[in-house]
Amino acid sequence: MFARKDKLFGFLLVLPSIIAVGIFVYGFIAWSVRVSFSDWKGLTPDYTFAGLRNYFNLFVDPRFHVDVRNTVIFTVVFVLGALAIGLSLAILLDQRLPGEAFFRSLFLFPMAISFIVTGVVWRWLMNPALSADRLSGFNLLFHNLGLDFLINQWHLTPNYGMAAIALPAIWQMSGYTMALYLGGLRAVPEELREAARVDGASEFQIYRRIILPLLWPVTLSAVIILGHISLKVFDLIIAVAGKQLPLDVPSIYMWQTTFDGLFYGRGASIGILLLISVAVLIIPYLYYSLRSEGEE
């Protein structure tokens, strides 16, 4: 290995990064926890210990209940939608059709765009006006195509408006899900399919019985990645709908209560709850994937 002087030098090269991540990620998380245990309101920091009061208040806070419900609706629609579209597209592209490279990059291009741009455009596509002379966006398109039964109020739909917010998110992330699945499909050995064909299995049976079960690990990764995005969803909602209580989520509540309302203690506790929910999803996954990598 390298000489001792070199090792020391190498360590000094990575040290600033380790310190920076240590402070800005782990130090700041600890600092946030401390704020979340305080009553800090207003512009001057106040770390007077208040125990778990902020957390208890959130658990009985109707707004936070709305947030949790909205996150669940968004997560279910977004994750299932992106998985279904992503898997279907991947299977279609796996048939080695002409133009495959074109389709592949086309389905991925929304990934290059910010949630803000996507949200601003979809806000006009999902224009909720219902009266015949004011129809626009998708509603107008449905009307022109004779699909009037599809006309709806999108994100203003009572109780389930959150499901409409998931649509632009699906638009943005389903191509990425497709790429994950396509990677998985390409890793299935051709001999396996050949053997099944020789045994007289139909293409449908080959997918159903052989290929889909092999794709479970990909589905798991996709669920984790998409799921953690939906827990953090923030700018997309702001861009589509602004700050509206029926479409509130923890990240928006956190932002408003902290930087508009100056309730730093409460804001920090929402941030920490978000961190815990992401950690519950991510840590077992990281543990599992790092361990299996180590075994290779």
Binding site: I113, S221, A239
Partner: protein, 284 residues
């Protein structure tokens, strides 16, 4: 396509023909993916007189630049802010990532096995859990509301993904090369400079594009850490869209302007972008 599968596809004759029907759903999905782009483009090219929500699907009567000119006028300082923030952020991030990735890939120091998972987790954290201390800290060091402050934040929170991307790439450099260099008496710096850096171009491209896109598209850090003079384009566009005064057609044109840099990067360097996504396939 392997010869085997070509033959079997041929044997299956009719099934092979029927496959082309599968292009129909693909084309339908293509239309779905292009709808937002279509609306952005046609609305942008309409003249002010022909803009109406009720005719938003119609093609423009000709090519007019009214909407783009007005949107550009409003967004110009913020597009500039984004540009001068994103370029240093992407370059500095890549250099740091390369050095870290090299050291971690080639040398196990005590405790280095904890560094990777801790970095990896740092990639996933919701930034809401650090944003209050971050805002206080930036204010205390006098960088709140400034572009250099935002560059610093993107560089630091970019360390995990850039380091891990280079780490993964450098792990594929053949051991024999490193051994050969050592026999030649090369030290740490020499090994990096003569062996690793010259083969790093693909990883640099991936990380540069990744950091460019994520810093350009960021909203949360920008909205908390910058003021209206230093807003990058995402925050300015969001404010433009939230105001009642600015017409939706100008918003559409503004959206295209805000998306254009990353779209161009994607169109011209898409292959590398895809590779970057796969390398960073863990990050959302």
């Amino acid at each position: 396509m392997s010869n085997n599968s070509r033959i079997s596809a041929f044997r299956q004759g009719r099934r092979y023909q029927a496959r082309y029907l599968l292009l129909i759903p693909l084309i339908l999905m293509t239309i779905f993916y292009l709808i937002p782009l279509y609306v952005m483009l046609v609305t942008g090219f309409k003249s002010f007189d022909e803009v109406s929500l009720q005719t938003m699907w119609n093609l423009p009567s000709g090519i007019h630049f009214d909407n783009y000119i007005e949107a550009f006028d409003k967004l110009k300082p913020h597009l500039w802010n984004s540009l001068i923030m994103v370029i240093p952020a992407a370059i500095i991030s890549s250099i740091i990532g390369s050095i870290n990735g090299f050291v971690l890939a080639r040398w196990r120091f005590p405790g280095s096995k904890f560094v990777l998972p801790l970095l990896l987790f740092g990639m996933f954290i919701p930034y809401q859990s650090v944003i209050i201390p971050l805002a206080v800290f930036m204010k205390n060091i006098g960088l709140a509301g400034s572009i250099p402050g935002l560059v610093l934040v993107h560089v630091i929170y970019g360390i995990p993904i850039t380091t891990l991307t280079f780490y993964g790439y450098y792990m594929t450099v053949p051991k024999e090369l490193v051994e050969a260099a050592k026999i030649d008496g090369a030290g740490l710096i020499g090994t990096y400079w003569n062996i690793f850096l010259p083969v790093s171009a693909p990883a640099f491209v991936v990380v540069l594009i990744w950091q460019f896109t994520s810093a350009w598209n960021d909203f949360l850090f920008a909205v908390v850490l910058t003021g209206n003079k230093s807003w990058p384009v995402t925050v300015a566009l969001q404010n433009m869209a939230g105001s009642q005064i600015i017409a939706w057609n100008v918003q559409m044109a503004g959206s295209l302007l805000a998306a254009l840099p990353t779209l161009l990067v994607y169109i011209f360097l898409g292959r590398y972008f895809l590779r970057g996504l796969m390398a960073g396939s863990l990050k959302g």
